[in-house]
């Protein structure tokens, strides 16, 4: 028993040594930093679905990480989202997480590679989109139509472009090749018309990976009808930067520039044609004829007519203006080519989907349709000095509490008190090791509520010893048993009490952990952890230790200082209580 515990402590100690982890990781209330708690607001007042929350967490995480903030942590806490950022100067975090992610459908006006650096894209240098088209200005294009399947493949399979949008009602689209492969899907319809531009005279990068850097990356991009200011923005936009512009609250009444969600392409987008709130649903599934993954989107009545109108308008437009971009949170998540006008409010997106990418897109469309609004319930910015003060206060309180308990144990239980003190010592070591290791391996951050929970738990741990010791003394008193027998008999009885009492504490901790908000969960975690440690210490340390001591004459013979002496045990015959019991 003792050896098992020793092995555990040594193993944890060795792990700490190996990981060079000796100090717990502190949460922001002790280390300083900003914590923002966002609470979802739904129109019905009902709790939002877990899926939509998960999506919101992902969106916010992308935004926060996009700001390049070190140590940012975005987590779900019940129905809330808690964002923790270490360090000071966090106003931009507060701003970036404050906006609501909304979905819009916008016509693509122009598209280009993410930045001027070629080689960023594995294939088709100029753009991953088949930007090639007989554009009205007669400018050539980089469209490698010659061998569509080999070079024209939109680089990463999940690229928003390179997909086709067709009416779900008329499903397998007239173009037979539409869904045959990711590559051929997009040029179906008009764009695939064997145009002479395959040999574009403009000297555009036409399929060679070694595209000349000197070229203006925007050459060949038609910016007619684009607001000059937006065009400038477009030229300066570099989507390969860490922040692809997430969290931008786009104005549906204006043209915008945006990046694709993988940062591989940049777009100029027309005013919003349909808002995400008009989407009634989106699902992913397998097309029964082609066997490939598709996403089906359904619109509400107003959205359906808006959608029919926009698809009718742009379907005959030249590439890329026949693409309809879906913009979520300022980022293009998909920009399929419109193959035909889509009336009826049902559309399907096909082309180069995997099960995962189609499900992801369907989720984004679905929850973009019901944008979760958040209010900033609480923003807390703790300065480094305040954090340090709180840590000092917490540790001081813990120290004093521990000393008081040790003092009381020794005063009351004398020799036995030493067992209690040693047990508390073991419990403290185990707790510290657990906190450090959890911090380094499970991202556990010690906060002030944790520290308080741990201090309060000193009481619980000590309570277990008291229950056991009192039982032992009962046994010795009543049965006039020898110490060695009393140790065992008392243990059987005390064990049950300790287990039930600890189970009650553990249930309390579990309920609080899963149902509470804010610091409560941290506190409950600490309570649960120490309850488990308490059981471990009592079973693996206190009991074996007492049993070992029972063999030592000092205790077995009941020395005055052992806490088990005859006088304290009241072994004198005139036991008042016994007399009454017999009378009764």
């Amino acid at each position: 028993m003792l050896l098992a515990l020793l092995a555990l402590i040594l193993a944890m100690g060795a792990t700490m040594l190996l990981q060079k982890a000796f100090v717990p990781k502190y949460a922001l209330d002790l280390a300083g930093g900003t914590t923002v708690t966002l609470s979802p607001v739904t129109q019905s007042g009902a709790a939002p679905s877990q899926e939509s929350l998960d999506l919101a967490v992902n969106i916010i995480r992308e935004r926060v990480n996009g700001h390049g903030l070190a140590d940012a942590d975005v987590a779900k806490s019940g129905d809330n989202i808690v964002i923790s950022v270490g360090g000071a100067g966090t106003d931009e975090v507060v701003k970036s997480v404050g906006t609501t992610a909304e979905l819009r459908f916008r016509q693509v006006l122009a598209v280009a590679a993410a930045n001027a650096t070629p080689g960023k894209l594995p294939t088709a240098p100029a753009t991953p989109v088949p930007s090639g088209s007989p554009s009205p200005t007669g400018k050539g294009s980089a469209k490698p139509t010659a061998e569509p399947s080999s070079t024209a493949k939109p680089a990463p399979s999940g690229t928003p472009a390179g997909r086709a949008l067709s009416s779900a009602l008329t499903a397998p689209t007239p173009a037979p090749s539409a869904s045959a492969s990711g590559a051929s899907a997009k040029p179906s319809g008009k764009a695939a018309t064997p145009e002479p531009s395959a040999s574009a005279p403009s000297g555009q990068p036409s399929g060679q990976p070694s595209a000349p850097t000197a070229e203006d990356p925007l050459a060949g991009v038609d910016l007619t009808g684009v607001d000059p200011a937006v065009a400038t923005q477009f030229q300066n936009l570099d989507c390969t930067k860490k922040d692809p512009g997430r969290g931008v609250q786009d104005d549906p009444g204006k043209q915008i520039v945006a990046c694709s969600d993988d940062g591989g392409a940049k777009y100029v987008l027309e005013k919003a044609a349909v808002k995400g709130t008009e989407v009634s649903g989106a699902t992913s599934g397998v097309d029964s004829t082609t066997g490939e993954w598709i996403v089906s989107v359904n619109f509400k009545s107003q959205g359906a007519s808006q959608f029919a109108k926009i698809t009718g308008q742009i379907t005959s437009a030249p590439q890329p203006r026949n693409q309809l971009a879906m913009v979520l949170d300022g980022v293009v998540i998909s920009a399929p080519v419109i193959e035909e006008p889509i009336p009826g409010g049902q559309a399907r997106i096909s082309g180069s989907f995997t099960q995962k990418t189609s499900t992801d897109l369907a989720n984004e469309l679905k929850f973009g349709a019901l944008p979760l609004k958040f209010v900033q319930s609480s923003i807390e910015e703790v300065s480094g000095t305040l954090g340090a003060d709180q840590l000092r206060g917490g540790l001081l309180a813990g120290g004093i509490g521990l000393i008081l308990v040790v003092f009381y144990s020794l005063l009351y239980y004398r020799g036995l008190g030493l067992v209690a003190v040693a047990s508390l010592g073991v419990a403290t070591i185990l707790t510290y090791q657990a906190v450090v290791l959890l911090g380094h391996n499970a991202n556990f951050r010690l906060s002030l509520p944790h520290i308080i929970g741990l201090i309060v738990s000193i009481g619980i741990t000590a309570d277990s010893f008291i229950v056991y010791f009192e039982r032992m003394r009962d046994e010795m008193k009543e049965g006039r048993r020898s110490l060695r027998v009393a140790v065992e008999v008392a243990w059987v009885r005390a064990r049950r009490t300790i287990l039930i009492a600890d189970a009650v504490m553990f249930i309390a901790a579990l309920v609080l952990y899963f149902l509470a908000v804010g610091g409560v969960a941290g506190f409950a975690f600490a309570m649960g952890l120490t309850t488990l440690i308490d059981i471990m210490v009592v079973f693996l340390f206190t009991k074996p230790f007492v049993a070992a001591l029972a063999k030592v004459p000092f205790f077995a013979k009941g020395h005055k200082l052992s806490g088990l002496d005859a006088e304290r045990m009241s072994r004198e015959p005139a036991d008042v209580r016994t007399t009454i019991t017999q009378e009764g």
Binding site: I455, G459, G519, D575
Partner: protein, 365 residues
Amino acid sequence: MSRIGVIGRRLYRGEVDIDFVGRYRLWYGLSGFLLVISIAGLVFQGLNLGVEFKGGSVFSFSKPTSSTIQDVRSTVEGAGVHQVIVQEAGPRWRVTTESLPVSEVSRVQKVISDKYKVPGDQVSKQIIGATWGGEVLNKAVIGLIVFMIAIILYLTLAFEWKMALAAVVALIHDLVITAGVYAWSGFEVTPATMLGFLTILGYSLYDAVVVFDMIKEVTAKLGTTAKMTYTQAANNALNHTLIRSLNTSLVAILPVAAILFIGTTLFGAGTLKDLSLALFVGMIVGTYSSLCVATPLLVRLKEREPKYIALAKRLATNKKTAAVEDAPRSGGKGKEPAAAGSAGASPGATASSNGAVAGGKRKKR
């Protein structure tokens, strides 16, 4: 002095015999009184809700050597903020204002930082939306209800439903009285206080579990030939665990007292103080209730069981034959067989049987 020494020694040896159960009227009266006062406090006085529940902004920064409350207030008011409350929190100023938009907060932070030469990042701030506190409260109430159900189920499995019920009633008793103390004293209620309230749950029950475990053990031996009624057995068990209860409670309260001390002297306000104060009050009430509320209540419930009614009756009859001269009691007992005879003994009749038992006990002394 020597008398106290003797009591202490007897207490230590577990030789005390306090009639907790028999004095249930006293405890019920006392608890009832406290509950009425607490509820009255909650209704008429209300709780002093902290800024976390009302919404608002809080700034906190290290006290510069030459600054007074008035000085700080006028500085912050000068930044265009109304409703400014300045508090001293240990070595820091704590300024509470109405809920400000993020931009305003940054401005106030800058004003403070400029005026008192405190680096901007050393001014802590907190903005709490008006709905936040309500949410915390909601969650706490849901947590409380789920916890009560879980505990009733668990204790029913581990012991029996009557013990579970008695323990939970004692728990509600503790929570209401603790809330009452907050209402009358005007201590600020913050989310940390709620945390304290919730933790009381665990403690209040820990005590009750220790006591009930002993009662279960002692009363398990009560067969038809037992020499004790359930009431007496439970009382014995209670006295037996008295020292244990007091010890565990004291040891649990010591660390809490340490946090309260540090929280009050070093910080003035904040998580440390709010949490430990609620725990401190709740634990004291909890210790009282597990001895004087939970057990008497359990005994009232158990003495209604036919088995224990029969036991009580038999012991009382024995007593009667032993003490024939005791005319009034024999009269009182005359009703008992009737009550017990109608198997589903009505509450009124049971109460009278209990009364008789308690009476017999007192007489015996």
